[in-house]
């Protein structure tokens, strides 16, 4: 009994450090912005920050799952770009929006499934398979339109993200729905617990009858699926599809995941905290821009925060040693 209480405390402390960090950043920006005559902590700006981080946050769900199994997925950014162009072409040629969404999700899930097959059953390192997928999908995206962007979409597309419910843009609500679903899946289903078990100790998981390969493959499929969601959200938010969209998102997603405290070695961490990680990155970008910090310095500051976050996260382990 005492043991479980201690365990709970330990887990929560990690999360609490992260939440305090997020609040400190929020307050620091609020104070500094205030001193410069600008408002940071307003409901409209908070909505802005979440909208701006929404695509990243959703893509990072997939990245979290893959990283929990001890893998990595570099192809998520290229899938975001692919969905924009692929979906964009379909919308322009008159395919109903709902069908476009379904087709994009299915196609990207299949791409993820194929990637996952090579990683899990094929035993090719995830880094290499997804590096290949990244190139293939980015190239394919450019082939579709000869590298040209797609624009001139119906109003309905942008309504998919900007439509407001009780004054909250729906794109924000999507993010929370996705996170609630995934947190529920991870904590309450067998599939969810197995993701943790194969990330923690794949051999033990195998011995206890878990179909490691299958579970691993499915996480890549989900990464493809969540990238499709992210890509569709970006398409709707911009009402414009750029074949280069999403480049670099794979790294931003990894940053959100590690700031959120999921270990790159797998098996440990909370997906809900990935959302906090994504929001911290979003807050930084927004706050630094509002403060008119020169672009080059922004990159430096974000880099420092990534390392600092993980350094603080590891404080306990250092102490234990």
């Amino acid at each position: 009994m005492n043991n479980t209480v201690n365990k709970l405390k330990k887990i929560d402390l990690k999360s609490i450090t992260l939440y305090i960090g997020a609040i400190v950043i929020l307050l620091a920006f609020t104070i500094i912005c205030k001193a410069n005559g600008k408002d940071f902590l307003t409901s409209s700006n908070i909505q802005n920050i979440i909208s701006q981080s929404s695509v990243m946050a959703v893509v990072a769900i997939g990245a979290s799952l893959v990283i929990l199994t001890g893998g990595i997925d570099l192809s998520v950014g290229s899938i975001v770009g692919f969905v924009g162009i692929f979906g964009g072409i379909m919308i322009k040629s008159g395919v109903p929006l709902f069908a476009v969404i379904v087709i994009c999700c299915v196609v990207c899930a299949l791409i993820g499934l194929a990637t996952g097959y090579f990683v899990s059953f094929g035993k090719v390192p995830a880094f290499i398979v997804t590096l290949g997928t990244m190139q293939i999908i980015r190239g394919l995206t450019k082939v579709l339109t000869s590298g040209k962007p797609v624009s001139g979409f119906p109003e309905a597309l942008s309504k998919l993200s900007s439509f407001e419910i009780f004054g909250i843009p729906i794109i924000i609500i999507y993010v929370f729905i996705f996170y609630v679903l995934i947190v529920f899946t991870l904590s309450k289903t067998k599939f969810g617990r197995r993701i943790y078990s194969i990330g923690g100790n794949p051999n033990a998981a195998k011995l206890s009858g878990v179909k490691v390969n299958k579970i691993e493959m499915l996480t890549y499929m989900l990464a493809g699926l969540f990238s499709a969601f992210g890509g569709l959200m970006l398409l709707s938010r911009l009402s414009y599809a750029d074949p280069n969209a999403g480049s670099g998102y794979e790294m931003d997603a990894i940053a959100a995941v590690v700031i959120g405290g999921i270990a790159l070695s797998g098996g440990k961490g909370k997906v809900a905290n990935t959302l906090v990680g994504a929001l911290i990155l979003g807050m930084l970008k927004c706050g630094l821009q509002i403060l008119n910090v020169p672009t080059y310095y922004q990159t430096i500051i974000i880099g420092v925060v990534i390392i600092a976050a993980v350094y603080m996260d590891k404080a306990k382990e250092r102490k234990a040693e």
């Binding site: 005559g37 802005n48 000869s146 001139g152 970006l234 938010r237 414009y240």
Partner: protein, 341 residues
């Protein structure tokens, strides 16, 4: 530990309540969005300073840095505060939308923007319109369809890439023999300016050139270098390389030098960057089409201020292009020095 956490929590909570309290009272007390003259900054700005947001496509190359420097100088002269922000990815529509949103939050009075592509800013323009912030379009012209979609009119100050490239082509036509064996290095496939710089040159040069090789080198020095090496292997007798920007042209010059064909192959670039100007001066490069990004920045800030004050502005201005050759390179270098810092 628990106690400590509780203390931190109470502290954080009380500070946040305090701050939200003054942030709401502060914003309701403000009349102009950008007055920036509440308690905190009252000492900083005695009078209201107008703020112009300035968004170049990126800050990763000299062209846009020069543009920003021109804008900064003009802003200092007019007593306008300039807020410069660029995305960290090359030409990202998503980054630009985010920047526009954050500039609206930070309370700029007008925005000058070089769009990441001519089609991608409809949503951002609509947000500016809703926030009543005038927008000026620089360098890369926004499509009419985008402006119509956003329901705005936006003045444009920049050059026509096609015309600039055509003038380089016409110079080649006048100074080279017919059927000169030519290789062309183009920018990123699918980008409008890449196509314009290629098509304009071919149109202007007409039958003076015989294009034996054409490669996309994505605007990059290293790719221009590799592409030219391969082109020289396949076509050792080329006489002219035309590159869509100076970066690729510089790569071409390196490759040609390595192949010891400097006397045989001439290189024409585009942009008139300082490195290219130095190479023209030393005779390594033949020519470059220079645009005037600083003028675009200057016109942008100048007219943004007019729009803020409700004055009329020029709907469209062509800032022109000029072919830089060994005979006029010194003069152009002098001009560029003004905007180097």
């Amino acid at each position: 530990m628990k106690k400590l956490l509780a203390v931190i929590f109470v502290l954080v909570y009380s500070v946040s309540v305090m701050l939200t309290g003054c942030s709401t009272s502060g914003s309701s007390g403000e009349t102009s969005a950008a007055s920036g003259s509440d308690q905190g900054s009252a000492a900083k700005s005695g009078e209201d300073k107008f703020v112009v947001g300035f968004i170049p496509m990126t800050l990763n190359n000299e062209y846009f840095i020069t543009m920003v420097n021109g804008a900064k100088q003009k802003a200092a002269e007019l007593g306008v505060e300039l807020n410069v922000q660029a995305g960290d990815q090359h030409a990202s529509a998503a980054d630009q939308l985010t920047i526009v949103e954050n500039m609206i939050t930070s309370g700029v009075d007008a925005i000058c923007i070089v769009p990441s592509s001519s089609e991608g800013l409809a949503v951002a323009l609509k947000k500016c319109k809703d926030a009543n912030i005038p927008v000026i379009n620089l360098d890369t012209k926004l499509d009419e369809s985008v402006l119509k979609e956003a329901g705005v009119t936006v003045p444009f100050y920049g050059t026509n890439n096609y015309e600039g490239a055509k003038s380089a082509g016409e110079y080649v036509k006048a100074n080279f023999k017919a059927g000169t064996k030519t290789a062309i290095l183009t920018g990123i496939a699918g980008q409008q300016n890449a196509a314009d710089r290629r098509d304009g040159f071919i149109k202007g040069a007409g039958d003076a050139i015989n294009v034996v090789a054409e490669q996309s080198a994505n605007w990059e020095v290293d790719q221009g270098y590799a592409a030219t090496q391969n082109i020289l292997t396949a076509n050792p007798d080329i006489e002219l390389v035309y590159a869509g920007n100076d970066g690729m042209a510089i790569g071409a010059v390196r490759a040609i030098k390595e192949a010891k064909k400097e006397s045989q192959v001439k290189v024409i670039g585009f942009d008139g960057t300082s490195e290219a100007l130095n190479m023209i001066e030393s005779g390594e490069m033949y020519a470059s089409v220079a645009q005037f990004p600083a003028e675009m920045g200057i016109l942008g800030v100048e007219n943004a201020l007019k729009l803020i004050k409700g004055e009329k502005v020029e709907e469209s201005t062509d800032t022109g292009a000029k072919l830089i050759l060994p005979e006029n390179v010194k003069e152009h270098q002098e001009y560029c020095k003004k905007y180097a810092e």
